[in-house]
């Protein structure tokens, strides 16, 4: 009797555990991934790269709390990232003397506090307006801080910035964080905590109200919520998490300069988040990882990578407003219904012309870049994809234009096949439901 009850409660506990595992499977996998990645990519550069990706993931997720969740387009989000970064670097300097009782892993809290404090002050002014006016105010505030950064040299360190030594702080569990691997794990841990927290916010009633304010501020106001207060709270939360990201950047680079509060930094986080997709929680994560990887690898390949970046952004805005995550999510019901096979042939058909177009466009950009920027110094001879030629000769240009035009024309045809496959899939889905 006793043992039977015992067994029953144990199997119940097991069932509860497995349900728990299933509910949180994504998070467990994510945590496992964060832990395991350095075992595979263990070189110094890839550790730095992954640390940077983690920082950008937190930064762009915090940005998406504004743009994606509450519908506020900000052009000055780097203010909170940068100011918190500066505060953290000053904290590192202040705490880097013997006898200070604070270890390095707590420094991101300094950033969070600074991000929150700045967001409270600036947010109170700017969240009174929404839409375009808010966007312009955020831009103005961003410029205000960026311009002040050059005046207030004692805090921002002028041109050369402020640097610190993270390994001087009180050791934490025997770690002094001199090595990049230890810093990576510190950053990864904070990233995990922040991502979970930000996801949790989206699931709370507040997260839903924020969505309501994004969708229809007038009705949210009628239901009895002050849209100003909702926007303000969102803004403060976003500022706090951006602050954590800034502090992590300070820890990672051990230096902060005025560029981190600049409009360029705000622009980068906007581009990352939007390319990733603002409509889904996964979007900014995708965008941050992808764009950071591109930023690092493309800048080795070509001097015109910023141009590619801008063109990609314009294309996404024009034809893919849901971003990459939106594109992936479009396929979720198809995958669930196991109808993806219908789409594959048409996608394969489209990939050919798409590659042609890409090759043509990239060829044109590279030719132009070489002819206009590099030719003045090293002559017009260039190499692309292992082929050597003269960028001043007409043939490569003609070839690139031909590739582009041909690719575009074929893509139009192939796109019809894609559309046909989609309508077939959609018809199938409708029948099932």
């Amino acid at each position: 009797m006793q043992t039977a009850q015992d067994l029953a409660s144990r199997s119940e506990a097991q069932a509860g555990l497995s349900a728990l595992v299933r509910t949180y499977a994504v998070w467990i996998i994510a945590a496992g991934l964060l832990v395991a990645l350095p075992l595979v990519f263990d070189s110094g550069t890839s550790l730095t790269k992954m640390s940077l990706m983690c920082i950008m993931v937190v930064f762009s997720l915090s940005y998406n709390m504004l743009l994606g969740q509450t519908g506020m387009l900000s052009f000055g989000h780097a203010v909170y990232y940068g100011l918190a970064g500066f505060m953290a670097i000053h904290a590192l300097r202040f705490l880097g003397v013997p006898g200070m009782p604070v270890p390095l892993p707590l420094v991101p809290l300094v950033g969070a506090a600074m991000g929150l404090a700045c967001a409270v002050v600036f947010g109170w002014i700017s969240t009174r307006r929404s839409g375009t006016a808010f966007a312009m105010i955020s831009l103005g505030l961003g410029e205000l801080v960026a311009a002040s950064a050059l005046i207030l040299r004692s805090f921002f360190g002028g041109e050369e910035g402020v640097s610190a030594d993270r390994s001087r702080l009180l050791p934490f569990a025997g770690l002094d964080f001199g090595a990049q691997l230890q810093v990576y794990y510190l950053i990864a841990a904070w990233t995990f905590v922040c991502v979970v927290a930000m996801f949790a916010v989206t699931q709370t009633p507040f997260g839903r109200i924020a969505n309501a304010v994004r969708e229809n501020p007038e009705r949210a106001e009628f239901v009895g919520y002050s849209t100003h207060i909702v926007r303000f709270i969102s803004f403060c939360l976003a500022g706090t998490f951006a602050g954590v990201a800034g502090a992590m950047a300070a820890i990672n680079f051990e230096i902060m300069n005025a560029l981190s509060v600049s409009g360029a930094q705000s622009g980068v986080v906007l581009l990352m988040t939007y390319i990733g997709g603002v409509g889904h929680f996964l979007g900014p994560i995708l965008g941050a990882v992808l764009i950071t990887a591109l930023q690092i690898s493309l800048s080795d390949f070509t001097g015109a990578w910023m141009l590619y970046f801008g063109l990609l952004f314009i294309l996404v805005v024009m034809y893919l407003p849901g971003g990459l995550a939106g594109l992936i999510m479009l396929h979720a019901p198809v995958l669930r219904a196991q109808r993806f096979g219908v789409l594959v042939p048409s996608y394969l058909l489209l990939s050919g012309p798409a590659l042609l177009t890409l090759a043509g466009a990239a060829g044109l950009i590279e030719l132009a870049h070489h002819r206009l920027v590099k030719a003045a110094m090293d002559g017009t001879a260039m190499r692309l994809m292992g082929v050597s030629f003269d960028s001043a000769a007409p043939l490569p240009w003609l070839l690139a234009v031909l590739l582009l035009v041909l690719g575009l024309l074929l893509a139009r045809v192939a796109f019809r096949a894609v559309r046909g496959a989609w309508s077939e899939v959609n018809a199938g889905l409708r029948q099932r439901s």
Binding site: S126, A133, L144, S148, G267, G310, V317, L372
Partner: protein
């Protein structure tokens, strides 16, 4: 002192009129289409660079006429084949489209003309001293700029208030659906206004290029100031944009001329915080040094005291 006041006023009005040439287009485009054109300052930059290139190949005057025409056409095409495609995704997408456009234009300009400032010179016909006041000279080119800017202002006013197309534009500003119902081609008017606004910005760039510096960052430097002007004047208000342009122009020019800091105020000499601290920095910074910050401070002040701007009557 009088000399300073006279010259600062002249320069301030000149800078303000230049700002208005840009802000007028920006505010018209905004109130008609609800699009805040991030690339507006980029059209200004393109105007300067095309003006420079045409002046180098042909003549300054060719550039002055052709650069606005080229940029205006480009603007109209961008409206037709870019913005109108994005329009169905909403205002945020439109704003982001122009943001991406500004990004790409800056990169392209850097690629074609390099990262360093180009040598865009005042034409020889205008390279002389216009007048001599209190021992200081005033270049003829600045008088020329002022004349063009005021001329453009008058033309714009005449077109908007006295011509048929101006009346349709005014009607489409507030009642686009009604105007379309009456048989006017409102999308066409949008395209025209977008092109016209771009051309006006390019003209401002072509005349300002030789006097200021023609460099790839000129758009990024001016863009935020333009937004300040438009918000300060009240979104969508042309008269407000005019007042705000002159205000910002005068304030910035006067601020640059004042070399005073808090430490220079009478009776402050004995209070002097240590250098190298935040308060010490604030203490010793001169008005001239904070000049770039003043427009943004004004923006914040206006938003706290009067969220609709000086002459605006709408919240967003």
């Amino acid at each position: 002192m009088l000399e300073l006041v006279v010259f600062s006023t002249l320069n301030g009005v000149l800078y303000g009129m230049l700002l208005f040439m840009l802000a007028s287009g920006l505010t018209l485009i905004f109130s008609m289409m609800g699009v805040l054109n991030f690339a507006h300052a980029s059209f200004y930059m393109l105007g300067a660079y095309f003006g420079f290139e045409l002046a180098r190949q042909f003549d300054f005057w060719v550039g002055l006429v052709a650069a606005p025409l080229i940029v205006g056409t480009a603007g109209a095409l961008i409206e037709r084949f870019g913005l109108r495609v994005v329009h169905r995704h909403g205002h945020v997408a439109e704003l982001l489209f122009t943001f991406g456009l500004a990004f790409v234009i800056e990169e392209l300009v850097q690629m074609v003309w390099g990262k360093l400032p180009v040598d865009y010179r005042v034409p020889q016909q205008l390279d002389f001293v216009a007048f001599n006041l209190f021992g200081t000279t005033y270049p003829a080119y600045k008088v020329f700029m002022l004349v063009i800017a005021i001329g453009m202002f008058l033309c714009l006013m005449l077109v908007l208030t006295r011509t048929r197309i101006g009346l349709i534009i005014q009607a489409a500003l507030t009642h686009p659906q009604m105007t379309a119902m009456l048989g006017h081609n409102v999308p066409g008017v949008f395209m025209l206004v977008f092109g016209g606004g771009s051309a006006l910005a390019a003209l401002a760039g072509a005349i300002a290029g030789p006097a200021l510096v023609t460099q790839p960052s000129m758009a990024a430097l001016l863009g935020p100031i333009l937004f300040v002007v438009v918000v300060l004047g009240g979104l969508g208000s042309l008269a407000g944009a005019f007042v705000a342009s002159l205000l910002i122009g005068l304030v910035q020019t006067f601020a640059v001329a004042v070399n005073l800091s808090l430490a220079d105020l009478p009776g402050m000499a004995q209070l002097s915080p240590a250098a190298g601290t935040l308060i010490g920095d604030l203490w010793r910074v001169t008005v001239a040094q904070v000049a770039p910050v003043i427009p943004y401070l004004l923006l914040v002040l206006v938003l706290i005291l009067r969220p609709t701007g000086l002459m605006g009557n709408r919240e967003t």
